[in-house]
Amino acid sequence: MISPSLLSASLMILAWSLGSISAATAPATVDLSAADKPLLTVIERLARACSASLVVDHSVTVRMGTTVRNEIENVPWNQAKEWFATQHRLSIALEGEWLVVTDVDSAFQASLVSAAYDVRQLMGSDANRPAPDIDLPEPGAPRARSLPTLEATPATIVSTLPELIKTEIEPASWNWSGTTVVVQNGLLLVTHQQQVHTAVRSLLARLEATSARQIVVRCWSFPVTNQGKSGIVDAVTWQGQAKTLGAPRAAFILADGQRNHSYSGTERTAVVDLDVVQGIYQPVNQATLDGMALDVQAHATIGGVLATIRLAEVSGVVLTPKTVRDGQDRVISTLDTIAIEQSGQRTTRLIPSGGAAFIRIGERFWAVQCEVVGQPPR
């Protein structure tokens, strides 16, 4: 329960506060005209027009005695503020019930806010990952390596992030004293006004949305039929055709513009040669690789996915052992002869998102589907 006297006191205080907090408002236009009057007179008139109390920062009180002579009337509020800033280096602002007059530079310094953003998510490089060539067996050649070293070409946005921010967000303001934008160890440190921070957050969100644009690549193979004759089909058509094909032979993901691949296969060691060393037949081993490599570099465009496709398959590897026998028909050594089937194609296609491009190799079709995930290009 609340006592009547306490409630009454509360309501009185509430009424008093409501009466006194009527915030000042800027009029549409103001009168800045003065005939040899001190600047303070003009500013007091401005405060009255705003129904505001007036307070002047101690650093600029001296300037209030400056004599003003002009005939500027009916000036829009924002232009009036600009006039004070350029003519007298004064910042005029309404804060609650106050018209506050400060030094332009001090006001800017006071409005600076520092914030740190964790931008490690944007730091990862979308390095290209080209597929390994499928090693073809060359008898007598040095031992093959199953997966050659990948050559990465990392390109990270973070090194250019400060420049990007300076270019995109209030470019002229970054020369002002006190503003900073640096990136170090995954942290973006920005000191600027609040509206710039809002813009920075918006930019980071936009960059993330762009980095979230990815392309899913899937690949099937099937005997030549009529369904692949069209060369390229759209998403709806392909969805209907793919229903009977089961799981794709390859499914992987890449960032917009990135090169990535899917490779799986079997490495078989074969004895491809025999050296005679001190009367002993010494085997020379070599790894042969079979399997499928699909290498795609894809760009999401307004017309679909522009995909450069490199497809290679080595299959039907047959290792036939051949024996070396002594005079008594005893096996003293064995080497393998190798037979393979190899197919491949390199091509560039414009594929509608979710649609598929058909690649005919011999009596088989390969269907490569590219699906844009995330914000599509507009």
């Binding site: 409630l7 307070v55 964790d118 990862g124 993330e208 229903k243 296969g265 499928m292 005893r330």
Partner: protein, 421 residues
Amino acid sequence: MRMLWILAFVAATTAGETATPPSWADEISLRPEWRQALLGTVLDEIEKKAGCPVIRSKGVESLANSRVVILIERERQSLRTVLAALGKWQGLHCTIDPMRLLVETQEEADLGRRRPVGISLRDYGWFAEPKSLPGHRDAPTDPNLSSDGDLGHGVLLGGFPGLEAESRKDLDEAMRGTGHLRLLATPETEARLRNTLAARFARMTLPQSWMITTGTLVADQPCPSGLVTVAQAEFATKNLGDRVVLTCVGMNGQRISSEQTRPRNQLTTFDVVGGEMDPKVEGSNPGRQVDLIATAAAGVVWTDSTPAHIDASSSLVRIAFALAWEDSLNPPVERQYRKPAEHHPLSFSGDVGKSSDGSNQSIRLDAKPAVLKEPVVMAVELPQRWSWRPRGVVTLVRGQALILIADHPTGRAVAVIQEAP
């Protein structure tokens, strides 16, 4: 602001609690019209209105006859409100005591309020940043999988506002080694500093927990792929044969790894050394391994205008991953190599000797026994390994999973990357 105070007051009294009575400074009202008045004159006027002594600090006293005040109220205000405006725009600090009013410059007030503060940076995880934890030495490498877990080391506090030069020197030393930070700071600066350190710690230790399910599928069986929902991913994993689940749990931005492998050795070939067969052994590591770094979307770590926070609304996670899956195909191909037997029959060697006069002859014979070296047979295994090493970077919205598929001798190999429940 005052409105909020009033509402809080009403709410408090409604709840039956006792509100703090307004101080005498709230009961006195005045309507100042100080047009270029000297600070000394203003303080005299306030003293007269307040009816109690206004104590001026040395700094204020020195400004009394030079500092000009312009403050024109449009209506009567409480003394507290006027003092607040005077403090803010004249750089003063007013303390309202029961029997007096103390007026200092802001610098004097801050100087008086600064006190020694000790902060152990180690309490906030400084020097304990999650380390990169790559997997097996043969683990897949990838340019995206580089992380030292650092987050703004150095830059975070380097530009921290409110610290004096001496404190900055201490800060540098603390960051270089001991982690014990000693500085002179106001309670507000200390609170902001601790807030910043805590926010960095929270961002750094944001947990990341991911599950990688690998298995095989019959080729004709349909399976969703690419970016799918968690429900689709769970459906897909249920149908997998030879299923292996690897989990990676770590911190935001940390490289973590998991593996299940069966390392083994195979005699794959031999050299010929000194006419003998010298076997050579190679190791292989069939099984499944994964290294990944999961990084939450860019978020605000701290700001000096609002309480530090982590942007929890952001739901993007960037995952750099490298998987390695290797199966040994059985049975291994075996080849035999034979070193033929060596027969060295009984043999003699010697010479015929003559006496000095040439009449006597002698024969000396050395016998070498017959030797039979048995043939040597060396059986070598020729490894046959199927492998798949998908790598990449994927940006997932929370609730999404990634399904990768490749050919496998039994049909299809499937890897599902999803957040661990």
